[in-house]
């Protein structure tokens, strides 16, 4: 990922991974209760950031191509067009585009959710565990 950038290794994704491994390992083992819970939340947040650093650039290209196939430049335009009703006769195509974007978001945020939902997903970096941020509002 450092191609075309002045930075040395580790890459940003590798730095985030190192921080996550420290929190999951040494730090989580030395605390309990609420702090242990927050260690899990923080490790999950870093795993998400790590996956986004790795997958994000290709996802951005694919997202732009999908939106372009409907004639839109970004999600703002697509959202406004759905709301106005102008896409009501193309809802199958529109839904397929929206669904593909949501699946890409889940590949970064919580790949395990796709598996539980029966949506196929290839193995990705990091690991989406049971997302302990699922606490009540």
């Amino acid at each position: 990922m450092t191609h075309g950038q002045p930075h040395d290794t580790p890459t940003a994704a590798e730095l985030v991974e190192a921080a996550r491994e420290f929190i999951e390992g040494e730090l989580a083992a030395s605390v309990d209760g609420r702090l242990a819970f927050l260690c899990r939340v923080t490790a999950n947040v870093l795993a998400t950031a790590q996956r986004e650093l790795v997958l994000g650039p290709a996802q951005a290209i694919a997202h732009a191509e999908r939106l372009g196939s409907l004639g839109f430049g970004d999600d703002v335009e697509l959202a406004a067009a759905i709301r106005s009703g102008e896409l009501d006769d193309r809802l199958v195509d529109v839904t397929a585009v929206v669904r593909a974007a949501v699946i890409d978001k889940l590949r970064v945020a919580n790949p395990a959710y796709l598996e539980r939902s029966g949506v196929g997903v290839e193995p990705e970096v990091g690991h989406g565990d049971d997302n302990p941020a699922g606490a009540a509002p």
């Binding site: 947040v45 959202a79 949501v102 509002p137």
Partner: protein, 323 residues
């Protein structure tokens, strides 16, 4: 996280003593602390009463825009108890009294609130088998309550209100737009208006070995279509990984049959599905609201930050419901 009555809880214990006219308050423990509210338990001793365990709910002023105040919550607890709904007995409430914010004190109810344990632990096996029917009966009791004397929020157009909230954050969500259109095209006839609990789900229910022991957390109560509560109970997030749609443990037909038995109201499954879909959208928008509390600096928290990336879970659930 538990604190005993060490120096940091002494001022709170003293304030509770004065506010509730108690001889002694001891063993103050914080159960939870959120952006809008904190919960504590403590042991109260009166002059002629044996020691008993009570629960303090303390609100942060201006914590949650849509929440009803402690006075309305106290009024609901009183009428709900009379209507036969399982609720913790109200002890008292007030605006501050040195406690540090609007407060409400109830009796402590033994049992479990953590969904994961209720859904998986062996000791709740019997509870799980009766929970759907008990929830339906409790909701029927809640929905029978005459709440006309209590000041509660009531929306003229629930879809418009939540769309306005979403627009206020300025992040486009095409999946939510698809859901709003689906919902707008299929609005159920609003034949019945009444008290809606507003957050009836695992996490806000105390469950013991024999099932539902108490309904907590009334701050999202409002006037509306009571079937909203049934739909909310079916939202995927509130199944906590359980295999069945109703709170992770029950079937749709079980819920509707038990609700009809208890209330006399027959509910069309499509009506329930509308509210489940609305509830899924609402939870997605609440996730955005919570992450914005972090982003806008009102309550910096990695937990709230993480919730922002759960929005896409709701989007996938919504696409499953509307397509």
């Amino acid at each position: 996280m538990a604190h005993d009555s060490s120096d940091d809880t002494r001022p709170l214990a003293d304030a509770l003593c004065r506010a509730l006219d108690l001889a002694e308050v001891a063993d103050v423990r914080q159960l939870s602390g959120g952006a809008s509210r904190q919960t504590f338990t403590f042991t109260a001793t009166g002059d002629d009463l044996p020691a008993r365990r009570l629960v303090l709910q303390r609100e942060r002023p201006g914590g949650t825009e849509r929440a009803v105040g402690v006075a309305a919550q106290a009024a609901i607890l009183r009428v709900a108890a009379r209507a036969g709904a399982p609720v913790p007995a109200l002890v008292d409430h007030g605006d501050d009294d040195g406690i540090g914010g609007p407060w409400l004190v109830t009796e402590h109810v033994e049992g479990e609130t953590i969904a994961r344990r209720i859904l998986r632990d062996e000791e709740y096996r019997d509870a799980r088998s009766v929970l759907t029917v008990q929830c339906a009966a409790a909701l029927a009791a809640i929905h029978r309550i005459d709440c006309t004397s209590i000041e509660l929020p009531e929306s003229d157009d629930i879809l418009l209100d939540w769309r306005d909230l979403m627009d206020g954050y300025g992040h486009p969500h095409p999946a939510f737009e698809l859901a709003f259109r689906w919902l707008a095209d299929r609005r159920p006839p609003s034949v019945r208006r009444g008290l809606v609990h507003g957050d009836f789900r695992l996490g806000n229910l105390i469950v013991d070995g024999s099932g539902l022991a108490a309904v907590l957390d009334w701050e999202l109560a409002h006037v509306g279509d009571p079937i909203e509560d049934l739909g909310w109970l079916c939202v995927n997030a509130w199944r906590f990984g359980g295999s069945e749609p109703v709170a992770g443990v029950g079937r749709y037909d079980e819920l509707l049959d038990a609700y009809e038995t208890a209330s006399g109201v027959a509910v069309d499954p499509a009506h329930l599905r509308w509210w489940e879909t609305f509830g899924t959208l609402r939870w997605g928008l609440i996730c955005i609201t919570q992450s914005e509390a972090h982003r806008q600096g009102r309550h910096r928290s990695v937990e709230l930050a993480a919730i922002g990336r759960r929005v896409c879970e709701n989007e996938l659930d919504l696409l499953e419901l509307v397509t």
